[in-house]
């Protein structure tokens, strides 16, 4: 009891991040096959995930600030209902994943073709 009062202990060190990929303009993305690389800004520790459910990937990681790099292929649906596979890349230099609940982040794609 004394110890609890003295040293503030924060054992809830992990959180869940859901990263969603979207496209700009009138192109919509229906599914994604890509690798997400999350680099912890403070520890330089790298976490990767490639398990996308539709356009979102969910990953459990240390609470903190991250740099995100995504590279892969997306199935895109154009306004005229034409489906195309397009190579894309997403990047963000700084995203905070510190909430104890699910942390949501949406990144816009840069198509490489």
């Amino acid at each position: 009891m004394l110890f609890t009062a003295c040293a503030p202990v924060e054992d809830d060190i992990f959180t869940t991040a859901r990263i969603t990929v979207t496209a700009e303009g009138d192109v919509s993305i229906t599914s994604v096959q890509a690798q997400v690389k999350l680099t912890n800004v403070n520890t330089r520790q790298v976490t990767t995930v490639a398990d996308f459910n539709g356009t979102s990937a969910t990953v459990e990681l240390l609470r903190g600030a991250y740099q995100i790099d995504i590279e892969g292929v997306a199935t895109c649906l154009s306004p005229d209902n034409v489906t195309r596979m397009r190579q894309f890349r997403c990047q963000s230099d700084y995203v905070e994943f510190i909430s104890h609940d699910i942390n949501e982040v949406t990144l816009k794609t840069i198509f490489l073709d």
Partner: protein, 498 residues
Amino acid sequence: MKRQFLLILILIVIHGAAMASNADSALVEHTSLARLPMLEAMRNPALHGMGYQTPYSQLAIGIDLQHQNQAFVPEKGSGYTLPYLKVNTFHPLNGRSTVWGEASYMTGKVHDIRWNSTSDYDLLQPYILADTLGGDTRRERYSVSGGYATSIKKWLLGAEMHVRAEQEYRSHDPRMRGIVTDLILRVGGGYDLGHYHLGAAVEGNIYKQTNSVAFYREEGVIPEYQMTGLGTEYSRFSGDKRSLYYDGGGVAVMLHASPISKSGPYADVTLDEHRYHRKLAEFNSMPLTDHYNEHVGATIGWKQEKNHRLAVFGHADYIRRTGNEHVGGTSDARYFPVIACLTMYKGHILDTYAGALYGRGNWNANITAGYREVSEEYVYPHRQMDASHVYGKLQGQCFIRPEDKWLLTVDAHASYYAKAGDKLNMPLANMDATFTRLIQHKHKYATANYTDFGAKVRADYAMNQSRYGLFAEAGGGMTLCSASEHQTALHCSIGITF
């Protein structure tokens, strides 16, 4: 006339011998191993003031030397050469009040420190600044303390203060510098139950250290790591962030119950909590890490002081160590907000022993058997290093008087630490080779068996017709490590007693 002169001479000789005898009995009272069961209670200034009957003062100049053929703990170096000058006094003013004090100056060299650019490693580890190069450092320490105790009817009151100012530096690259100020204030009270003293004391501590590393040769600059425990580092602020400071302190509560002079059971309980915050000076005092040490210590024993001096006791210390890392957010004009604080380092030290002390006439002996466990854990990525030892210690002390004016004090000790268990869990595949070597080195020495023995001889000479005496002391010891390394230690001092 001649008869009167002879009478005066005889009186002077008798007086001198009596004073010499008083000085000797003071030395015995103040240095006797038989005081061992009371040492914890003596931390309470109210009981410390009543702890000795005789005044005793000493001025000493001496030197401590230690050499390890390979550093057991790289962060603490492979040895030291530390000359010192020290004066201490304990002086009962009257039947009710006592003053005591100590002042010392120490300067010298610590050899071959590696993986540590911070002073006071034992206090601040694992949250230190470190590099792979290291080297010898110079140390300089000024220390002053003083206390006062008095009794008002059955109540005992006392207070004391310790101040330590220390600097450690290196005059070649990497030029580390640590400047420490450490203040301890202690206030205690006691109640005389007749044949028992009950005591309670509180202690406050303020600690500060400014710590930096500089390089004069541009081509010789190497990274300084902000260490976070078990070979991990705070990467974002490692490298060229070499200026930081520590801000800390703590509180302690001590309770004692001890028989005043005769036989009876005694007990001590100590609770203390110390915390040390590491902050980056060059980034607007951004907090990097917080380290918490929480300690519970308890002793229970029984002592008897009649023709024989006998004591049996059991003691246990438990220290819980917790380390929190502050997560820095995005910078804004060299200001980093803290966006989260995570407990990443956990550890504990358990030390428990039982012992007995026996003394008769001019000698005392103490035997102790115990168990010590040190555990460290870094939560993620998971790292763990545990080591436990069982140990036995034997101490002996003898006061010999070869002539009236001479008193010899001989102390000897021997101990053996045998490994009882160990555990090492490291993500070696993902670790940098230099950090892996550090961990392997630390694990090798943390889990080794140790044999330690040593002896010390002190000769006191009481001068005629004077309250002054001279002394010389020399001692040495050796520690043999099962990892095929050893440590030798030497100590010499001379001085006057008064």
